[in-house]
């Protein structure tokens, strides 16, 4: 199956699912779970642009995620901004923070880069939970984050909010897909697999990495804002290293280097969290185990497994 065909198939399956879900008569809890999956999917797709496409392993993406959430919360609660405008600003806040962190961190490579992103994110976390308590509400966070009010629709109904989120996911995913396939995306791929060669072809590698990182930050900011709206609440926990770790797990388990992988990873993560969480309070450890096993045996994640199965089922033309 050609790359184009498999991408088309992926879109078909996704759209079919998204259309089917409202008609399944799901209960409130399930709808919340699905909405969580949609929000985290945007986060993971953005993370994938940095890690999977460009090869930058950031351990501090929670910072952009949290900053986006707080931006939306503060702009809507304290300054009564319209939701969509605040949402856009949340994305920009994530992009700007990523650009700032990237300015420093991208001077380094490998583990040094990763550690720097981790350190910056922890700094942000400390600021949010203690130093900037007056603005951020400290460890308690900020409650009262509103839902959008577009076209007079009541988005406080979770079922309606699902539609809002689904549309946003489709748009963000499509943009990510175009980016990956575009000439710009090709350069990023080249940088991931042989940055010396890309430099020798005439491109400023650091600038490209910086832009990719900022775009990834934009996605994280949007996702953080949407999480805030979904839960009516933002907290410093969003900036914690465990959040950064979570999105890393989601992306890896789903399949690094693919467009739809992150969505599958998020679904597995959140579904397991939900189901396992009912059975045992040790679900996080089991998730860690799945992550470790997945890293060893399924380096290409769930997507890799699906691709392998499909390759056997559908022979190449």
């Amino acid at each position: 199956m050609t790359r184009l065909a498999s991408t088309a198939l992926g879109w078909a399956v996704l759209l079919a699912l998204l259309v089917a879900i409202p008609n399944l008569g799901l209960g409130a809890e399930r709808i919340l779970l699905i909405n969580l999956i949609l929000v985290y999917s945007i986060f993971a797709v953005g993370f994938e642009l940095s890690f999977g496409l460009t090869g930058l392993l950031s351990l501090g993406h929670g910072a952009m995620f949290g900053v986006g959430g707080y931006a939306l919360a503060l702009l809507t609660i304290r300054l009564a901004w319209p939701f969509e405008l605040a949402l856009l600003m949340a994305g920009l806040a994530g992009a700007v923070l990523a650009a700032v962190i990237g300015f420093f961190a991208l001077r380094l490579t490998g583990i040094f880069f990763s550690l720097t992103t981790l350190a910056f994110a922890q700094l942000a976390y400390i600021l949010a939970s203690t130093k900037l308590r007056d603005i951020t509400g400290g460890v308690d966070g900020l409650a009262g984050v509103p839902r959008p009010t577009l076209f007079g629709v009541d988005f406080y109904d979770d079922g309606n909010f699902y539609l809002y989120l689904a549309v946003l996911l489709i748009v963000m995913l499509a943009l990510a897909g175009l980016l990956r396939a575009s000439p710009f995306g090709q350069v990023l791929t080249g940088i991931r697999v042989n940055d010396t060669r890309v430099e020798q072809l005439g491109w400023n590698v650091r600038r490209f990495r910086h832009i990719a990182f900022a775009i990834s930050g934009f996605y994280s900011g949007i996702a953080g804002a949407l999480l805030g709206a979904l839960l009516f609440y933002v907290s410093p926990q969003m900036l914690h290293w465990t959040t950064s770790g979570d999105v890393l797990i989601m992306t890896l388990v789903g399949g690094v280097g693919t467009l739809f992988g992150p969505l599958i990873g998020v679904t597995i993560f959140e579904a397991l969290k939900d189901e396992l969480g009912r059975l045992t309070e040790h679900w996080y450890g089991i998730l860690g185990l799945i992550f470790v096993l997945s890293t060893i045996f399924l380096p290409h994640g769930a997507m890799g497994l699906i691709s392998a199965v499909m390759r056997r089922a559908v022979p190449r033309s």
Binding site: L108, L115, F120, I126, I249, L252, L287, G288, T295, I296
Partner: protein, 285 residues
């Protein structure tokens, strides 16, 4: 005066951890994010051994061995399969270990924090020149210095030590010398893990034994090995004592800002001199 003692004791504790971490990185090119978790396991195990035997000294002897065994299992089961792949796999794996170990600790020991008291003969504070000093801290300093001395001796003067030093510069030397690379790797990782657990045992009477204690200390460890230079034991000692003093001064002068300063220092060091004081050319990690 007491600040100095506190600083030095923290410093030597950090050294125990940093030494293992820097050896593992130097020889295996692996940044063991789970090092803090091994420290935590060491502390919890110390608590349990103490509960069972009533002797801190037995714990001190036994816990490093248990830690080394845990490290051996980790290396053989998880790290070995991914050595050939890109380096970020190792980061991912050791990160995953953190989650698993954290959960295992929760399963076996629960959520509340545990207390480990220093052994009786070291418990009561003594007065020296107007200051009250905990004799346990003096013990930590002495013990840490002894371990440091032992490490130096082994690395400089024994066959094992020379092999480790050579292999940390160029892992292929190990093969040329006719040794099984896999065994050497496992051995180094287990040794590092044992040191971390030993650190946990030594640190248990000093800090509350609780979940998350691993992460609190791992950042300081990273700072130490980066300032000291990845792969350098010499650098680890100097940097550990330095950071220990900074921590001690920080606790007394500005306890609110200690964490913030810690992370800022890490960033500054990473940006200005990532190869550290004694570091060799950077491994591509």
């Amino acid at each position: 005066m007491s600040v100095v003692i506190i600083g030095l004791s923290i410093g030597f504790l950090l050294f125990l951890l940093a030494a293992g971490l820097t050896l593992i990185f130097g020889m295996l090119g692996v940044v063991n994010f789970a090092h803090g978790s091994l420290y935590m396991v060491g502390a919890y195990l110390t608590y349990t051994v103490f509960q069972l035997t009533g002797s801190f000294w037995i714990a001190l002897a036994l816990v490093p061995v248990l830690g080394a065994m845990l490290g051996m299992i980790m290396e053989m089961l998880a790290l070995r399969p991914v050595y050939g792949r890109e380096h970020y796999y190792q980061i991912l794996l050791t990160f995953g270990f953190i989650l698993i170990i954290e959960e295992l600790v929760r399963v076996f020991w629960g959520l509340d924090y545990k207390e480990v008291n220093p052994p009786a003969i070291l418990a009561s504070p003594i007065s020296v020149l107007d200051a009250t000093i905990s004799p346990y801290r003096l013990f930590v300093i002495g013990f840490g210095a002894a371990i440091a001395g032992l490490l130096f001796y082994v690395l400089e003067n024994t066959r094992v030590g020379i092999i480790v030093r050579a292999a940390s510069v160029d892992p292929e030397t190990v093969q040329v010398l006719g040794l099984d690379v896999g065994r050497v790797r496992t051995g180094v990782f287990a040794f590092g893990a044992g040191l971390a657990a030993l650190g946990g045992a030594v640190g248990a009477p000093l800090f509350p034994v609780e979940l998350g204690m691993g992460f609190n200390i791992i950042i300081d460890c990273f700072i130490v090995i980066i300032i000291g230079g990845l792969g350098s034991i010499r650098g680890a000692i100097v940097a550990a004592l330095l950071i220990g003093m900074v921590r001690a001064i920080g606790y007394t002068a500005a306890p609110d800002w200690v964490d913030f300063i810690t992370y800022s220092v890490l960033i500054v060091v990473l940006l200005t001199r990532p190869e550290g004081l004694f570091g060799r050319s950077r491994r591509v990690a």
